[in-house]
């Protein structure tokens, strides 16, 4: 069987790695990505492990790299990505890297401090300039006396000065964040009891905060007050609200002089700042070239040390012992990797891979490629398959898009979806390279691109059969219905809005071949006859057709699921389940649903006279009531029907106890025999698996859990256990075969009861559940028809000149609604229903899904951040 059909065969292996070769070997295995290591020291704290210091060094390196990355982001320098994937560097190279990062970090920090200091200086000077400019303005409009005291002027400040001639007005000037200005003003007024005068003006240009690099808005203010006490107070308030004060001379001449000085200094500083900026940019461009490779290297080293921490250290033999799961088919590759790793490290002693037998359930590993990935994803989302049971994914590739399409059947909608899928698939490489688009929704759509492609394709197929394209039909071959054969007269034709076509009238329906009654031709070559598009009873006709085909499709899928169950039973050599479960289940489902499908098909194929068509529903109900079918109540199908139906019902009734009791009875019988055989031993031996000991299963579980611990120690004592590959294989089969001894009998009985009830009820409820195929398909075709008649039809039915214009306008409306409602919303709902049909109706027949996924130690997934080490 192909690898898709069952999960990969796995084996537990122990690796004996020489201490010096361990790093290189693990590095190779990481590139390979085929082994998953188990933790041999689960009881040891994270910080007590052997290589914790190396992990810490890696953390430190990563931190430095992150720092550099942040700096890159701050300067908006893109990281250079050439798709390189360097191998993990040897441990000795790590020191080099560390030194390099250390130097870079220090350089960067130094540059930053310098730049910050310069910027701060620059900011101060700029603020100073602003103050001088604005102050000039303030003084000019309010304080003429300050320049010329003797004039005494008309200003109120001068008058204030007059009243207390001995005291002089003082002032301070500074800059404050614009957002703090109102509270500053309030506090100032309150704390100084209104005895100060504040003037402020906004600085128009935005300033840069030297520490955070944020852009801030500030205001210049100037405060006038009297006396030293107030000056103290004002200064304290300024300090409290983070206002910066600058010295501002009294006279305008001085101010002008200082302003000139400030200007020249600003110019000088600007030059220096530019130089620092250039230097910084130079360093960062260098960093940008390499940072991606560095990140990969460091992450790889870190992952290796993390893995080494999982190993057992054997000090005496100077080797590390690892335990891992790996696919049996890839043992060769793993051996090669180990050999290569040993060679690279120059170690003299080879690394050894040793298979180990175990009772543990191996992980489930399904190899996927880009195409199968999304389908496997659907299955895994429900539950990872139990080790080596039949994997439904390969069948899902066809059945899923098909069931989806049954609900979504429309040629036009399918075509749009197909085109969308095709675009994604064809431009796949381009989108894969664009990793930056970190949108979860996009990832989901892109991940399912092959599924979308298939769903589109199948929808076109079913749309073709339904003969619907945006709810309109194609008439390629001409309808097989003939109105003229009805011989309506002109009056009837002229007046009636609808006319009855009677298929029994000769020549009206040409659908039957010549040898049939009224036969004169052939039905429409494929799917629905286009005449139904304009028929009033279109829905009634299609309902009956789609309802029945849903049930037939559902039965086929359930039957297929049950067949897969047989494969499982055969593979796990579970003959008991085949005889006591599978066979009665098969009979049961055939009798209850299969018979219905048979009569549906029978009626489709053989019934010719529409007037006396039998009612299958009533017939089915009557069957269970043991009422003999008769032509009178329209339940008669064929001669001998009554006998057959009684037999079918009896079979159903007979299967129930078979499913319910046979298996527990056999188990009970076997156990009694076994107990009789071992009876003499039972009294004196504690090793006997006592039936009465309900704790036994728990004990087994415990010993399995302890196995990890014991594994390491065992390997120390026992050199190498000779173990054939065949043995492992047979062992794994034995182990997965349900061992009835492990469970209590009452538990088995209860489980059997549940299974039986579940199966028999599900046969009916699941069949009914498949009717969603019909329901959704009906909803879809109705919605698209409504959209056509209510929107597009308005435009198309208008006469020119308004017609084309309205059609143009209405088309966009139609297009948006088609994509939004019919494609996206209806598509999602059909998708969900198809998903449910697979998870519940199909998989419940055979799928246990109790495994756990194989998570290999792989650099690829670690670097992409999919695995958090």
């Amino acid at each position: 069987m192909g690898s898709l059909f069952r999960s990969e065969q796995m084996c537990l292996a122990q690796l004996y790695l020489q201490s010096e070769a361990a790093f290189a070997c693990v590095s190779k295995l990481g590139e390979l990505g085929l082994v998953s290591f188990t933790d041999l020291n689960p009881n040891v704290n994270a910080f007590q492990r052997k290589f914790v210091n190396d992990v810490r060094r890696c953390d430190e390196m990563e931190r430095k790299l992150r720092f550099l990355e942040r700096e890159l982001k701050k300067d908006q320098i893109g990281v250079y990505d050439n798709g390189d994937n360097p191998p993990a560097p040897a441990p000795r190279e790590m020191i080099e890297l560390e030194a390099k990062f250390e130097k870079l970090e220090n350089d960067m920090k130094e540059i930053n401090t310098n730049q910050e200091a310069l910027k701060k200086n620059f900011l101060e000077l700029t603020e100073m300039k602003q103050i001088l400019m604005k102050a000039q303005h303030f003084f000019e409009e309010t304080l003429p006396f300050n320049d010329d005291d003797t004039q005494g002027g008309a200003s109120e400040y001068a008058r204030l000065l007059d009243e207390q001639p001995e005291s002089k007005l003082g002032f301070v000037a500074g800059v404050i964040l614009r957002s703090k200005l109102p509270s500053f003003e309030r506090v100032l007024w309150r704390a100084c009891r209104g005895n100060v005068f504040l003037r402020h003006a906004e600085i128009e240009m935005a300033l840069e905060d030297p520490v955070t690099g944020d852009v801030v808005n500030k205001s210049v203010f100037i405060i006038f007050f009297q006396g030293d006490q107030l000056r103290n107070r004002v200064q304290k308030i300024c300090e409290g609200l983070h206002a910066t004060l600058y010295p501002c001379p009294d006279t305008s001449n001085e101010r002008r002089e200082i302003a000139i000085g400030v200007m020249t200094r600003i110019e000088d500083l600007q030059a220096v700042l530019n130089q620092t900026e250039d230097h910084r940019h130079l360093v960062l461009t260098q960093v940008a070239l390499n940072i991606r490779v560095w990140f990969i290297k460091v992450r790889k080293i870190k992952a290796i040390y993390h893995t080494l921490n999982l190993f057992n250290v054997n000090i005496a033999e100077k080797c590390l012992i690892a335990q891992c799961w790996c696919p049996t088919n890839d043992l060769g590759k793993i051996q090669d990797a180990l050999r290569y790793g040993t060679e690279v490290s120059g170690s003299s002693v080879a690394s050894i891979l040793q298979q180990v037998t175990t009772e543990e359930q191996p992980p489930t590993y399904n190899r996927t490629n880009m195409f199968t990935e999304s389908f496997q994803g659907i299955i895994d989302a429900f539950g990872v398959s139990t080790y080596q049971e039949v994997n439904p994914a390969p069948f899902t590739i066809i059945t899923f898009p098909f069931l989806f399409a049954v609900m979504f059947g429309d040629f036009g909608h399918g075509l749009l979806m197909l085109v969308f899928g095709l675009v994604l698939v064809i431009r796949e490489k381009f989108y894969l390279a664009q990793k930056s688009a970190d949108s979860e929704i996009w990832d989901m759509i892109f991940g399912g691109r092959y599924m979308i492609l298939f769903m589109g394709f199948f929808s076109m197929y079913t749309g073709f059969l339904y003969n619907e394209c945006f709810s309109r039909s194609f008439n390629v071959f001409g309808s097989s219905w003939n109105v003229s054969a009805m011989n309506f007269d002109a009056v009837t034709l002229g007046n009636a809005s609808a006319l009855d076509l009677d298929p029994v009238t000769p020549g009206v329906y040409r659908g039957y071949p010549d040898n049939y009654i009224n036969g004169s031709g052939y039905p429409y070559p494929y799917g629905m006859d286009p005449i139904w598009q304009s028929a009033e009873n279109k829905i009634t006709f299609q309902n009956s057709y789609k309802m029945k085909s849903s049930i037939v499709l559902g039965f086929a899928q359930m039957l297929f699921g049950l067949t897969l169950a047989l494969y499982n039973h055969i593979y796990f050599k579970d003959r008991l389940s085949i005889i006591c479960e599978w066979i009665p289940q098969m009979i049961f489902i055939w009798c209850i649903v299969g018979y219905l499908c048979v009569i549906i098909l029978f009626k489709w194929i053989t019934w010719k006279d529409p007037a006396s068509a039998p009612s299958l529903l009533i017939g089915l109900i009557n069957m269970f009531m043991f009422t003999a079918p008769s032509k009178a109540d329209g339940t008669f199908l064929y001669t001998g029907q009554s006998t057959v139906q009684i037999f079918v019902v009896l079979m159903i009734v007979f299967c129930l106890p078979w499913m319910l009791l046979a298996k527990p009875a056999v188990i009970y019988y076997r156990r009694r025999q076994k107990a009789n055989r071992y009876a003499p031993l039972k009294s004196d031996s504690s090793t006997t698996r006592g039936l009465e000991n309900p704790n036994f299963a728990e004990d087994v579980g415990k010993s399995q859990r302890n196995y990890n611990l014991a594994g390491g120690e065992m390997a120390d004592d026992v050199p190498i256990i000779e173990q054939d590959q065949l043995d492992v294989e047979s062992n794994s089969i034995q182990q997965t075969e349900p061992d009835p001894d492990e469970k209590d009998f009452s538990e088995i009985m209860i489980l059997q009861i549940i299974h039986t009830i579940e199966f028999s009820l599900n046969c009916i409820s699941h069949t009914a559940s498949y009717l969603r195929l019909w329901a959704l398909s009906l909803a879809h075709s109705e919605l698209s028809e409504v959209l056509w008649t209510m929107v597009m039809h308005i435009g198309l039915s208008m006469a020119p000149p308004a017609g084309p214009i309205v059609t143009y306008a209405v088309f966009w409306f139609f297009a948006v609604l088609t994509v939004g409602i019919l494609l996206v919303m209806e598509g999602l709902s059909a998708f969900l229903h198809a998903l449910r049909l697979h998870w519940v109706e199909f998989q419940s027949k055979f799928y246990k899904g109790q495994g756990y996924a194989f998570l290999p130690f792989s650099f690829e997934s670690i670097i992409q951040g999919r695995v958090d080490e």
């Binding site: 994270a46 910080f47 914790v52 309150r190 704390a191 304290k236 983070h242």
Partner: protein, 353 residues
Amino acid sequence: MGLFDFAEVGFNVDNGFLEGLTRGFKNGVLCKEDYRHLTQCDSLEDLKLHLQSTTYGNFLANEPSPLTVAVIDDRLREKLVVEFQFLRNHAYKELATFLDFIKYSYMIDNIILLITGTLRQRQLSELLPKCHPLGIFDQMETVTIANSTADLYNAILVDSPLAPFFKDCISEEDLDEVNIEVIRNTLYKAYLEAFYDWCEGCGGATAEVMCEILGFEADRRSFIITINSFGTELSKEDRAKLYPRRGKLYPDGLTELARADDYESVKRVAEHYTEYRKLFDGTGVGIGEKTLEDKFFEHEVTMNVNSFMQQFQYGVFYSFVKLREQECRNVIWISECIAQRHRSKIDSYIPIF
């Protein structure tokens, strides 16, 4: 609240998301197992490594080695602040008021810290980092200009949210050390009373849970004030004014406490109350004995943990903040013990779960 009060029905409309979030945060609070691992650490680097495996995650990942306790403290506090701010920013109506009430206690602490610092001639730049980031408000830093409480109120605090708590302690007296303690306690008293009354007004489960916790807080303050007042110049009348008039001690217990002269008499008061008797029993300063303070903390932690048992109430937010705070104290205590190689006392943290 009336008989037909269905406040719970609408609770989730406004606060459901935040309550869920807070309960999620609470699940991230370190448990006994974590503390056991932490106490086994040999260095702060080990501690960092272990904290990485908890919900703290990589919160120290960007700190250069060597780590210091101060850095850990900052980061821990930052995490609490980020979480709290998120809650506050998304809070609606009553919950917003409630969360603001939680913030007020930090504001009071900050103001007192700044005034004391200024009295001791410390620089503002030196004091600011010590302020709790939850209690920072605009005018806070200008408190240094005030010389008297009246000044403080009129100039600065009048339009801060603390103004209503301040009305009891306005006087023209100059600020000095004793004064400041009195102010702190008066403020706290007013704050607790207001918070208590507000919660009571909320009714329902909020009142049930919060009045219990705040009542305890009030009683604890009364006890501590009394015990600390022995041997100081604080008169009995003044002391009695500082007791928050809520909680189990009010009114009888407080009257008795007001008369207490020594530790024994305080203990006698506590004897009357089952909860508090337990706390006073077997306390001491010797090795292996727990201090009264620790006992109070433990009781507080139990109450806060229990507050999560009730749904549709604001208590969880208060309790979460308090539990996180206790956790910060624990981690810092353990870090200090590790950093100072003083391992004998490392186990004196207060486990939460």
